[in-house]
Symmetry: C3
Subunit: 352 residues, 3 copies
């Protein structure tokens, strides 16, 4: 049984990872994939396996609309069928899998499941990515853990107090209760803190917004999980008593933490992290500095996640606790489990 | 069946490896352990597994008498029961294993077996560690081999002629017969060489003692194995004809090679090596220089032990020879085997 | 069932890899072997396993005609029987395997199969190695792939167009059909190209021969596979219309690419590559520069072969295509398979 949902859109890469000449080889959801741009600059994705002798196509190069195998020159089309090969008739060559792929919002999205079901209207709508009033900066980490450990991590920000003590963590986070609810198919875990002092990261953001940094603020964290494994977190601070989350723009600093968690294999992930903000959107230096700071903060989770995974592998039978702070992750896992179960019959018939 | 004795004291660390803030994570006898000092500076040891989400507790920090998990702030007590967690009732949290631990002689000793049997009067008495006329210097190596290969190595010093040819080895060692006897539960392998020239290491020691380095000496090596895996070796040289091992202090240079061999896993060890000497005990520069020299010499065994282990893994069915020079290791293995067998019933009932 | 022929001569090392003091430890065809030179400078080969305690003999040193174990001084004879050990009677020590070994043509050849069948007249005759009009330069690569992938690679030079585009590759190679035939037990794949421009590597060779580099040439590639896994390739260019392969020496530049592909394990190889040439044989600087160029070119195959192997391991059931360009490799594999099958009964009786 798969450990992840197959019929869903996952982020496989950011747009700038795929140039016009060199393909990108990357494993997503246990599928080795060669990504490349065709002559119209459209991203294409096929299995990374040349039907001639099994060489990885991603070691080759792009020519027109085809991916040329770097070993013996077989030309693979974007549909997974061989287009040509020097001095050969290729009609009967076996096909390889074409992977549904869409480029949108600066990301490459793939659908590892049944091809017919790959409806691109199911790609989540990222309003901030279309709105010029917002800016985005982000990065990519490779982590050796089950993707669900990363979901747990993001749906319970209590850990900020401990893992990120010097930047976004503060004692009030784990002293404030959280509330987990369902909004449609979305799991929402929220926490509101009132009249607290802003931690270093938010002091910087307030300063960037021309607000004082030594005054009490109201702070919020609203984590939203959507299947298969995306977590968007609305975070912010407003000058205390000005309406909190609802305060007018000039009284607050806020942003959206963007997390696309994509299984590489059953035991490793591609973690696309970033931050979208709606203040000083044109300030590229600020974007770069926030990106660097966030990259630093998020790297603090890496060791704990990998070591947690090793511990769980060692003791597969120990039951973990499911506390109120864990409710977001627990709910998310339930949705994932139910969806995987529903997929079983079609998953079986469509298995590679 | 365990490959090592469970109900026994093993050296897990030297005292200075465990500071007052940072815990130490280390696997001993296949148990992942977090070591820390409580508010009274007492060393505590618990399983390195947070009952909340399985993170390693050794990534956290010490607060008062508890170990705080670095992920979500659970406070683990030294008895393996959760003391508190922000905004949680912890009474029903599952316990983790507390590991009997004692700090003595500058070392941290643990008892991986049945807790009730952990009697600290069973810790070997190290007289040199209590006597101000003696000085000690040592170090730690991690080696990928079965701990019994290291016992074999130390109970048969013939190998010095070959492995340590440039320091303590000399041809006379492997030309002189050894005698292996039992003294109570202790295996003793001894070798006495008379009227030989001292090798470089002993020339230095004689010089440090104000004795000539170019005169014949009598040399001895008395290796003592005690279960579960400790080897103490009395070594020394005396000016020839002055009584050898029994010669008066001003006619000899002698010391005790200290070896605590602690299984990490079935295929790897923590090897605590050192030397205790009863001359110039206050000379710290001498302690440092002996320590450096010994570290260099003992590192010469690492490759041969790891490669020997690989060879044995490749040919598990080949019988090794048991020569007279191997008798010390053979006897030690017999004691270990008998003790493991005796432990079986209680081992089964107390298995993790 | 073995994946390679056992009763055959394989190249295990080049002569200069085995000095007079230090043995060489190397695994060939799944056998760990210690190679050393005896007092008559003859190369000897025994299993790399000391019968005393299993230490690798290759960590020791040579004394007279014996290999001395670096652990306890056992003296191993070239016939696999212990010659002596300090203070021990060694008559009943178990023997280790002696591996038939011959030094010839600057290489060390071993026979991993039945000792009685090891007839050194079966070593291939390398005429260029005996003829002073020829010069040779070569090197060694370790590659993690099945040895047959390397045979495929060399018996189908179409890949030069893609893998070696900047040196020996040219479009005309994969536009020209190949012919695969059997000459006795030898598989021969040949390709003749007429009236083409020489690629960079051959421009250099023509220049070294005092021939113009901008004129059309006839080019040939004749790949010869001999069991168990040797591939010799006659390559060259002649000024167009002067007789091609048969052209007189002053109208051409030609050489023999030498490839000994020796299995280390079932999934890794020692790849001895080199080039023998019959022009400017005394020019050592030229030998060095060709060697460097060839080493560079052949290193381009490493990544593709290792990644191809990983792909095949992932999809063991996919059938690879067998095109005309693959016929050389396919024929070679058939010969190998038939020979392995024939070896089965004796392989069983002689198994280690």
């Amino acid at each position: 049984m798969s450990t992840f949902i197959r019929n869903a859109w996952y982020v496989a890469a950011s747009s700038d990872e795929i140039g016009s000449e060199k393909p990108l080889g990357r494993t997503i959801c246990n599928i080795q994939i060669a990504f490349f741009r065709d002559s119209k600059d459209q991203v294409q994705a096929v299995e990374d396996f040349c039907p001639h002798r099994g060489a990885p196509l991603s070691l080759g190069y792009v020519e027109g609309d085809n991916l040329v195998c770097g070993y013996h020159g077989l030309q693979m089309g974007a549909d997974g069928s061989t287009q040509s090969m020097p001095s050969q008739r290729v009609e009967k060559f076996p096909c390889i899998k074409q992977i549904p792929v869409v480029e949108r919002y600066g990301f490459i999205w793939i659908w590892p499941g049944d091809k017919q079901a790959a409806d691109d209207s199911l790609i989540p709508v990222l309003e901030w990515a279309l709105d010029p009033k917002w800016a985005y900066g982000g990065g990519l980490y490779h982590i050796k853990c089950d993707y669900r450990l990363m979901i747990d991590n993001l749906m319970d920000l209590t850990h900020e107090t401990y893992v990120h003590a010097s930047s976004i963590g503060q004692k009030e986070i784990d002293e404030t209760p959280v509330k987990t609810t369902m909004e449609g198919t979305q799991v929402v875990t929220s926490r509101y803190m009132e009249g607290i002092l802003p931690p270093p990261f938010w002091q910087n953001a307030l300063q960037a917004n021309g607000l004082p940094t030594d005054q009490p603020v109201d702070r919020w964290q609203i984590c939203r999980f959507d299947a298969p494994s995306h977590v968007m977190i609305e975070v912010g601070v407003a000058m205390a008593g000005k309406g909190g989350y609802e305060a007018p723009a000039e009284q607050k600093a806020n942003s959206t933490v963007v997390d696309f968690i994509t299984p590489e294999t059953d035991g490793s992930i591609w973690y696309f992290w970033g931050m979208a903000r709606n203040f000083k959107a044109d300030d590229e230096a600020l974007t770069a500095s926030i990106r660097e700071g966030q990259g630093q903060i998020f790297s603090e989770d890496l060791e704990i996640l990998e070591r947690q995974q090793q511990n769980l592998d060692r003791f597969p039978d120990r039951h973990l606790l499911k506390l109120d702070i864990d409710a977001g992750g627990v709910q998310a896992r339930r949705i994932i489990e139910r969806t995987i179960k529903r997929e079983q019959p079609s998953a079986t018939s469509g298995a590679a």
